[in-house]
Amino acid sequence: MSAYLLNRVGQALFVLWAAFTISFVLLQAMPGDAILIKFQNPDLGLTAQQVAEIRSSYAADSPVLVQYVQTIGKFLTGNFGYSVQAGVPVSTLLAAHLPATLKLATLGFLLASVLAVVIAFLSSLTPFTWLRGALQSVPSLFISIPTFWLGIMLIQIFSFRLKLVPVINPGPWQELILPVVTLAVPISAPLAQVLVRTIDEVMTRPFVGVARAKGANRHWILWRHVAKNALLPTLTIAGVLFGELIAGAVVTETVFGLNGIGGLTERAVGSQDAAVLQAIVVLSALAFVIINLAVDLLYPVLDPRLRTKVGVAA
C-alpha cells in the first residue's frame, strides 16, 4: 500500500510540475504580457521610454529560462509574487477569493449529486413510461440551459420579483442559494446521464435475473444490487467533472458577483496576469490530483473485486 501511495504522490508532483511548466510556456507564447497590457494602457498615457523603463524594473525582458527558474524557485518557497493588474500580493488575492469558490463548488456538487440520483432512480422506478421518458430527457435539457441565463432568471424571479433573497449584501449563506442552484443544474446532467445508462446496463446482467427469479421486486433490486454497481462509473465521471465545475463557477460567479477563483481567473486571463494565473493553475492541478486520488482510493472500498490489485504491497 505504501509503495502504491508513494507512486501516486510521485505522479501528483509530476502533474503539478507539468501544469506549472505548460502554463508558463503558454503564457510566454501568447502575444504581449501583463506588464505591457497594464502599462501600455492609454489611460496611463506613458511614453514608449517610460514603458521600457518599467519593463526593465520588472525584469520582464530577461531571458525566459531565467524567469522560469526564478518563478519556480519562488513558488517552492511559497512566494507567489504580486498581481501586476490588481497591485496586491497573489497570496492575498487567493485568500480573498478561495473561500467563496470552495463553498460554491462543494455545495453545487452535492446538490448536483442529489439531483442526479433523484432523476436516475425516479426514472428507473416509475411505472409510467411517459414519465420515464420525460425524466430521461431531463439531463439533455439541463445541459443545454445556458448557465448565465439561468442565473439571471433566478435572480430576476427570486430576488427582484419575489424578494426572497437579496443579491446585494446578502448573508454569508444567503448569497450561495441561487448560485449553487445555477451551478448544480449543468453539473447534474452528465452525472444523471451516466447513472441512468449504468442502471439500465446493470439491469440486464445475469445476477439481476437471478435476484428477480428469487422474487425480489424492482425497488429491492435497485437499492440492494444495482446501486452499488452503478456508482463506479458515476464516481469516475465525478472526478472528471471538476474541470466542468470550475468552468461553471466562472460564469456563475460573474453573474452573481461572487468573489471567487472563477471570476479571478477570468480577469487574470484577460490581463495575462501571469503570477495570478500560475498560482491558480498549480492550485487547480493540486485539487484535481487530490480529487482523483480520492476517487481511486474509493474504488476498492466500493468494489471488492478491485481490492486484490492494491493489497499486494509487501
Partner: protein, 546 residues
C-alpha cells in the same frame, strides 16, 4: 456569451419579472439635506491599482474622488479653476513657475499634515515618477522639473518649458494628494485600498478585494472646495461599493431597492430605468470624442482621399440613433461641445456616400467583381480591435463596417484578447483603424490623444511603437506642442480650434459621439455631483426619506 444572446436573455428575464413593485417614490420637495445613511453603490468592475495618476480607470476614479482632495477644484459648470487645498496661486507669464499657498489645518486621515512639503512630495512623484518604487509619471503633468518648499504653507513648482495646462492638471483625479506613507509603498502594493491615505471627505474603512469596499465619512473634514454650498463633514455616514459585473443585475438590484446608485448603464437599458421614475445621470467626459482613428503609416490608409472617403461614408447619426440615446450627442468636432476650446466643424463631417465613392475612385480604388474596392491587385480591407471600456464599441464598429461596406470597403472588427490587442495595436500594418477617446476638461487633452510621446493614437514614427516605418506629421506635432505650451489663453484656444480643423481636414479621425458616463440613481438619492469628466463625487450627496 455573446452580447446578442445576453440581450435576448435579458429581454426574457425582464419579461418574466415585469411588474416590479414600485420602490422609493419621488422625494417630496425635500430641500434640507439629511445627515446619515450609507449609500450602496454598484460598480461594474473591481478597482485596480489606486496610484492616483492611474485614476483614469473609472472604478479607480470613483473611489479616489471620495478619499483624496486636489490642490484646485475645477467647477464642472464653468470649467473655471477654483481654490481647494490651495487657497491661492500665482503663475509667471511664461507658465514655467507656479506658486501655491496651502490652506492651513488640513490633515491626512493618518493625522499627518497636508502642508507644502507633502504637496511637493506628491508632485515630485507625479511629475518625475519614482524608478525605485516603479511609480509611473502622470499623464497630465508636462515638462515638470522640480518643486521647492518656500515655507510650511507655500510650495513652488518649476517647469522646463511652459506648461499652461498644469493648473487644470492640479484639479484632476490623477492629482489626488496622498500621505507620505502611501507614496513610500512600491507600485505593486497600491492595489490595497486601505493603504491609500488621503485627506478627502471619506476614508477607506475596509475592503474585500475584488468584491466590496466600505468608506466612512471623516468627522473632522472641513476643507472642501471653498465655493461649494456644502461645507464641513459629508452628509452620508458611509458608502459601500459592491462589484456587480452583470448589467442586468445592477439595474434589477437598483429597481428592486437593493442598491441606491449604479455605474455603467447601457443606452438600451435607460428607458427601463426611467420608466420607474429612477434617474439616469449622464455627465459628459468632456474630452476627445468617441472616434475612429486611422494609422496612416499603413499604405491602405496613407492617402488622405481614402481617409476622407471613409469619413464621408460614416453615418454618425445612424450610429447614435440606432445604438445610443439622447445622452450620447452626435459629435460635431473631435472634442465635445462642452470642452474648452471646442469649435463646431460639423459641416466637414457630413455623411455623403456619393462623395465617398467619388473620392475612392479618384484615389485609384475601383470596385472589383466581388464588390470590394481594388487597386494594383490589393483589396481595401481594414482591421480594427474593439475597445472594451467604450460603450457598445463592438456594435459601433460593426455598424461602421456596414456603412463602409456600402462604398466597397471591408472593415474587420476583432475582439481579441488584451495581449493580442495590445501588441497588434502598436503595428499599423495589423491595425490600420482603431477606436479612441479620452476624457479631460483641458485643451491639453487633444495633445494627450495625438502627440507621439503621449497616447500617439495615429502611431507616428518615434512614438509609442517601434513598428512604424515612416509616418510623421510635423505640422500636427508642432500645433500640439504649441497648444501645450502657449501661456496666453485666447491664443491657446485658437490653436485648439486650428488643430480640430486640421485633424478633420486630414481625416485622421472620424468623430462619432460625445461620450458620457452613464449612472442611474434611486429617486431619494440627492445631491450627487460629478467632477469635470464625469466621475461621481458623493461629498454633498444625501438620502431623502424613503
Amino acid at each position: 456569451m455573446t452580447t446578442k444572446l445576453k440581450r435576448f436573455a435579458l429581454t426574457l428575464a425582464t419579461l418574466a419579472a415585469t411588474g416590479l413593485p414600485h420602490v422609493g417614490a419621488r422625494a417630496e420637495g425635500a430641500t434640507e439635506p439629511v445627515k446619515g445613511g450609507t449609500l450602496v453603490y454598484l460598480e461594474q468592475q473591481a478597482h485596480t491599482n489606486l496610484y492616483p495618476p492611474a485614476g483614469g480607470f473609472y472604478p479607480n476614479g470613483g473611489i479616489l474622488n471620495q478619499i483624496t482632495d486636489k490642490l484646485t477644484y475645477q467647477n464642472p459648470k464653468t470649467l473655471e479653476i477654483e481654490p481647494w487645498i490651495a487657497e491661492s496661486w500665482t503663475v509667471n507669464a511664461a507658465a514655467t513657475e507656479y506658486t501655491f499657498k496651502i490652506r492651513p489645518g488640513v490633515t491626512f486621515s493618518d493625522g499627518t499634515p497636508l502642508d507644502a512639503a507633502a504637496v511637493a512630495k506628491n508632485y515630485d512623484v507625479f511629475g518625475l515618477g519614482n524608478k525605485a518604487l516603479k511609480h509611473p509619471v502622470s499623464e497630465v503633468i508636462n515638462n515638470y522639473e522640480r518643486s521647492e518648499v518656500i515655507d510650511p504653507l507655500t510650495v513652488k513648482f518649476y517647469f522646463k518649458k511652459p506648461s499652461p495646462g498644469f493648473l487644470q492638471g492640479t484639479s484632476v483625479i490623477g492629482s489626488g494628494l496622498v500621505a507620505a506613507s502611501t507614496l513610500a509603498l512600491p507600485f505593486e502594493e497600491l492595489g490595497d485600498a486601505t493603504r491609500i491615505i488621503g485627506s478627502g471627505p471619506f476614508v477607506v474603512e475596509s475592503e474585500t478585494i475584488g468584491k466590496e469596499l466600505s468608506l466612512k465619512a471623516r468627522e473632522e473634514y472641513n476643507w472642501g472646495p471653498v465655493k461649494l454650498a456644502h461645507q464641513g463633514r459629508a452628509y452620508l455616514d458611509g458608502i459601500t461599493y459592491i462589484v456587480t459585473g452583470e448589467d442586468s443585475v445592477r439595474i434589477g438590484a437598483l429597481l428592486a431597492g437593493q442598491a441606491d446608485f449604479i455605474r455603467q448603464v447601457q443606452a438600451y437599458d435607460e428607458s427601463q430605468v426611467e420608466a420607474q421614475d429612477y434617474q439616469i445621470y449622464a455627465p459628459s467626459t468632456r474630452g476627445v470624442n468617441n472616434s475612429v482613428v486611422f494609422r496612416p503609416d499603413n499604405p491602405l490608409v496613407a492617402d488622405v482621399k481614402v481617409r476622407q472617403a471613409l469619413l464621408h461614408a460614416t453615418d454618425a447619426k445612424e450610429i447614435v440613433t440606432t445604438l445610443f440615446s439622447a445622452n450620447y450627442p452626435q459629435a460635431t468636432s473631435i472634442i465635445a461641445s462642452s470642452a474648452l476650446g471646442y469649435k463646431d466643424i460639423s459641416a466637414k463631417l457630413a455623411f455623403d456616400p456619393e462623395k465617398a465613392k467619388a473620392l475612392l475612385s479618384e484615389a485609384g480604388w475601383s470596385v472589383g467583381s466581388n464588390g470590394l474596392r481594388q487597386k494594383d491587385g490589393k483589396e481595401l480591407v481594414l482591421t480594427a480591435y474593439e475597445s472594451l471600456p467604450q460603450p457598445q464599441n463592438k456594435e459601433t464598429l460593426q455598424l461602421v463596417a456596414q456603412q463602409w461596406g456600402k462604398v466597397g470597403v471591408k472593415l474587420n472588427v476583432l475582439a481579441g484578447d488584451s495581449g493580442s490587442r495590445t501588441v497588434d495595436d502598436l503595428d499599423p500594418l495589423k491595425t490600420p483603424v482603431s477606436p479612441a477617446m479620452v476624457g479631460r476638461a483641458d485643451p491639453d487633452v487633444i495633445k494627450s490623444q495625438y502627440y507621439p510621446k503621449n497616447r500617439d493614437v495615429l502611431r507616428q514614427k518615434g512614438g509609442l511603437s517601434d513598428k512604424v516605418q515612416s509616418f510623421v506629421d510635423d505640422k500636427l506635432n508642432g500645433l500640439l506642442e504649441a497648444l501645450a505650451s502657449e501661456p496666453d489663453r485666447a491664443k491657446r484656444l485658437a490653436i485648439a480650434g486650428e488643430i480640430q480643423d486640421y485633424v478633420v481636414d486630414q481625416a485622421y479621425a472620424i468623430p462619432i459621439f460625445e461620450e458620457p458616463q452613464a449612472y442611474a440613481g434611486a429617486p431619494y438619492v440627492q445631491g450627487v455631483a460629478f467632477e469635470a469628466v464625469g466621475r461621481p463625487s458623493f461629498y454633498s450627496t444625501w438620502l431623502a426619506e424613503h
